[in-house]
Symmetry: C2
Subunit: 361 residues, 2 copies
């Protein structure tokens, strides 16, 4: 079988998450680990050595050098969020397609600058929200879209927490106001918001109310928060995100006819399979002493892990542009922007003392 | 084996739920179906015939006649909530111990009148929240109380919804302002609030904020609502309850070290066993491509269904009073009252336009 056309990736920086994405690029049939750049050559070389880069890969002592490599088609940007606007815009200007870590920007204003640069240069942008690409996600969407099974969406609850250790809470970029100023909201909250929007077919809520009691660190960065979202048609959602509680990853979507539920929506419990539960027209047995029908479990297998499927889909889009003259796929920047809009509204609600904030696109 | 001393039950009214509780009384080793009263003799006779009452059982054409039967030790009261104050107080005055359907009262003021009558007469009162008596509930509590497994409670989410049909939405007592004026909040919301308080070891929240967007019927009865609870120590909870969405019954309790989760907390999927999931110090595999450890499932078997265990525990307490001169157990009225207090605060928050309401005992 002929090997598909390859998209050459350059990686900006040696963040922990870049190890996982490097492996995903290596696993992806249409992507190649071509270059890595760090602030020092030594760090980049060490990263390449430890993360399966081929011997022919380029090692650079700066991010600029990666962007100046004419063989680099696309860059993966796992830099702190505050640096996204600089490096994402520069990458776009240098015609590099962009796989951008989440949260994509500090706010939708910065994101719009990035998106405009991408639009101007005709490059693809996609945020690195891996679970969107698991085949389980598509199966779950089939369920939600089947009116006889699920009916009309009424409520969503999403929860993503993990128990950060002392070192994380003191030193991680996600607790530093100059690096990832959105803290837990930008990190774990991003996934909650994305999952809610996904369940709502990316229909934006009309309003967002942050729930009082946000936990901040001494620098004012959010460590835990939650919010309530309302739509014009009456559906509602809540989420809770935190760095301060045991790793929990729940998504529950309730419709008039059905319920969808899973407890590992962002990272499946196992790499090669993902499960979820559905319930349809649930009811009770005679005398209400049990359920009939009960919820049922579904398992979806995948040969490639979700992050490799993400890289592969991104590379397919980049390949269409590069080899077939296609236009960038608008879906992905649109989803990034909607997620950021809601995230901004939650932040605004917190800053305004838990006022209800209208969401306007 | 000698049969334990029997507590003679009288049932006030022939509500649907009374069928389940009649069976529970019949199953309970220390309780006897002694009498049933309805507004007509014929209805009561039909109910007794269809629900396993012994031939010797007394059939009465009024509730008063049940209360006047000197052989009745205890009454089960499944009447509409608006009638609780009248019949519960009268029952207590006639020295009948009280198994009272939830919601126990329209508000804590009415409940206090009932509790005072019970106190004055020295009778036991217990609300009919069946899941509290499942052995699974005790097992789950063991987990929550084990600091090395669960740690400190950080957040709870509880959801109880069911899809009421057209007939229910038009005719059920739970949508009638003169009967069960608390609607979904009193019916399904009661369980959500109880489960949150249970998880919080019945530590009352400092404040309650109802979430905007309560759905009312044309008579102003709540069909769907939600709320956010906050404690002094920073823990938080959300719940969602509704008559308008597929039957869903979720409880998720997240601590610093562990997570507890179940999807059938009020009515177990199967009558004789109940499962729940726990996770302790959950983490990810290398490169964050899976979980280690993963949550684990636990199953608790029970010979008697939870409602029979409830009747049995209630009868045991009544027996201690009747045969051994013990005092009524204060735990149960205390839990009823705390649940009602929070329920009242949610209702007040809705009525005040979604203001935060302080909870005061």
């Amino acid at each position: 079988m002929e090997s598909p056309p390859q998209i050459n990736f350059g990686i900006l920086g040696c963040a922990d998450i870049a190890r996982k994405v490097s492996r995903a690029i290596a696993l992806s049939p249409n992507a190649t680990l071509h270059a890595v750049g760090s602030r020092t050559y030594e760090k980049a070389a060490k990263f390449a050595r430890e993360n399966g880069f081929p011997d022919t890969a380029k090692i650079y002592g700066s991010y600029d050098a990666v962007l100046d490599d004419p063989q680099v088609d696309a860059v993966y940007v796992p830099l702190p969020t505050s640096l996204h606007i600089k490096w994402a815009v520069l990458a776009a200007q240098k015609k590099k397609h962009l796989l951008l870590e989440k949260p994509v920007a500090l706010n939708v204003g910065e994101l719009d600058v990035i998106l405009e640069a991408c639009e101007t240069s005709g490059v693809q942008i996609m945020d690195s929200t891996m679970w969107m690409h698991h085949p389980r996600t598509a199966k779950m969407k089939d369920f939600l879209l089947d009116n006889s099974l699920f009916g009309e969406l009424k409520s969503v609850h999403s929860c993503f927490t993990f128990a950060a250790n002392k070192d994380f809470l003191e030193n991680d970029i996600r607790v530093k106001p100059d690096l990832d100023a959105l803290g837990a909201l930008g990190d774990v909250g991003w996934y909650c918001i994305r999952s809610i929007l996904w369940a709502a077919s990316f229909d934006l809520p009309k309003s967002v109310l942050a729930l009082p009691g946000t936990v901040f660190n001494s620098s004012g960065v959010i460590l835990a928060c939650g919010a309530y979202l309302q739509w014009e048609d009456g559906k509602t959602a809540t989420f809770h995100c935190s760095f301060l509680a045991n790793l929990t990853m729940d998504l529950t979507v309730v419709g008039t006819n059905g319920t969808l539920r899973l407890h590992d929506f962002i990272i499946p419990f196992e790499e090669k399979k993902g499960s979820f539960s559905t319930a349809v027209k649930s009811g009770f047995t005679e005398l209400v002493t049990g359920w009939n029908p009960k919820p049922s479990e579904h398992t979806v297998m995948t040969d490639l892990p979700q992050e490799a499927l993400m890289v592969s889909e991104f590379s397919r889009l980049v390949g269409s542009i590069k080899f077939d003259g296609a236009k960038p796929e608008k879906k992905w920047p649109t989803l990034s922007r909607k997620t950021q809009l809601v995230l901004d509204a939650v932040k605004a609600s917190i800053e305004r003392g838990y006022e209800t904030v209208e969401v306007t696109g």
